[in-house]
Symmetry: C2
């Protein structure tokens, strides 16, 4: 129930028609008696830099969920940017700090990592391979570093992307071993497809699945289908795995904590949601 | 249930804490299966002129309810202004026209008139006295003219306010007889207190109640209490009357029609509302 006192959380992106967050957050707010609401706002890229500061001048604004096409622009517009968002070069969450400054964070990688840990895969002191070093790959790499992996291998067909990400990671995590230049998945505790390969039916696999050890945990970011060809091939080898949408849904508790509403379990959120996921 | 497709109606004003509209509109939208939501946005006066055009560039914006302190500024910011809003010098509703232009209208007076007509008082070809020619008095005078009164008497302690309103009315309604300079209520079918007198306990009455005929219908805009001293005195003379909040609630069907959602009865709206009124 929206009232005059309700805290407003803008869901910023364009187009909005496929947004699911309101149907997950709002029923949970109602269930917990939290006077807040997530409201889609279809802001176009060319308006964002002017609209965002004015939105955060509203007296009842509490925060924002940020999605395409604004994640990269958000880093430049915030007053404070988390280490994770800085490494990712992108942010998907905004809130006002106690001093009125605009704080940005990035939870795509946090959701990915929370899902992997929740499925029983340990990450601390392990080695991980991330294939694809764009926005989502960078976010996942940043969160893997935060989660304490000892060694990160990064691969991107555009070598400069992988090297740039490696530099940002090493600056923030000097003890982390980072290598670039190979997508060979042999010998890693975790391998991740963070590239767009799998979006189109005739895409090649992102790495040589035959070289993935059955004990390796395999993660995917493509959400085109639940079982992408890459995941299907890894599962056929006996690997445990995480599907693309888990990254989205597993980050919601971190978002809620960022907004100051506590950190519910994914199960509690699913139970209240107006959509099944 | 807010979705990615939900049409956004901003409730613009500051402060927002006393806003009631979301608790009236949103349950009715849910009841009728209309995919729209009213969301309070606490926009401060100094931000309004910049925020408003950006708000109306959102892809899912449908309209706005406008309240204090933005009603006067809205007239200057809209591309098209209704005759009623032009006379009132204020607007409380905004929508995008089919051509993308921003259209403003004013429903305070419409609500006042709808309430009076709904209580069985005829207005066409009758005479009315409006005491107080600020924003709300101007809006009521404009809507009385639109409703077809034959003669309007206007009074304000600031004579220039009454004369300015008279000029705007005569320009839009050349056949209307408009007089200014007296608050004597004798001989009118309708008399209205549209002044702030009654807000404070030691205010004088806005007119000489002893000269109101018992057959006269008496309207009030002060909402400090349901039965203001003015209404109580008129009721004691046997007059029928309308309380201040009726103006607010009786205008909601006109608002909904303006937004393209049909024109429900006040009774249907009251039945669905999450507050009693």
């Amino acid at each position: 129930m929206i009232r005059g006192t309700t805290k407003l959380i803008a869901h910023l992106g364009y187009p909005t028609s496929t947004f699911k967050a309101p149907m997950i957050y709002n029923p949970w707010f109602a269930h917990r008696g939290i006077d807040a609401v997530v409201v889609p706002m279809g802001c176009k890229a060319e308006d964002y830099a002017v609209f965002l500061p004015l939105l955060f001048r509203l007296s009842n604004i509490h925060g924002a969920l940020v999605t395409m096409p604004h994640k990269v622009a958000t880093v430049a517009l915030a007053d404070r940017v988390s280490v994770t968002a800085r490494i990712a070069g992108a942010a998907n969450a905004l809130r006002l700090g106690a001093d009125g400054l605009l704080e940005a964070d990035m939870f795509d990688g946090e959701g990915f990592v929370a899902g992997v840990l929740g499925k029983g895969q340990k990450l601390a002191d392990r080695a991980a391979l991330v294939v694809g070093c764009g926005g989502v790959g960078s976010a996942i790499a940043a969160s893997l570093a935060k989660a304490g992996v000892a060694r990160l291998a990064l691969f991107d067909p555009n070598a400069a992307m992988a090297e740039g990400l490696a530099d940002r990671l090493k600056a923030a995590y000097p003890a982390l071993a980072v290598v670039t230049g190979s997508n060979d998945p042999a010998g890693f505790a975790l391998v991740v497809n963070a590239s767009p390969l799998g979006m189109n039916p005739d895409d090649p696999l992102p790495m040589d699945v035959e070289r993935i050890d059955p004990s390796t945990f395999v993660g995917e970011v493509v959400m085109k289908s639940e079982m992408t060809p890459f995941l299907a091939a890894a599962a056929a080898r006996g690997c445990r795995y995480q599907v693309g949408t888990d990254m989205l849904f597993e980050q919601i508790p971190a978002y809620l904590e960022f907004f100051g509403f506590g950190r519910p379990s994914v199960a509690e959120l699913r139970e209240q949601a107006a959509i099944s996921y």
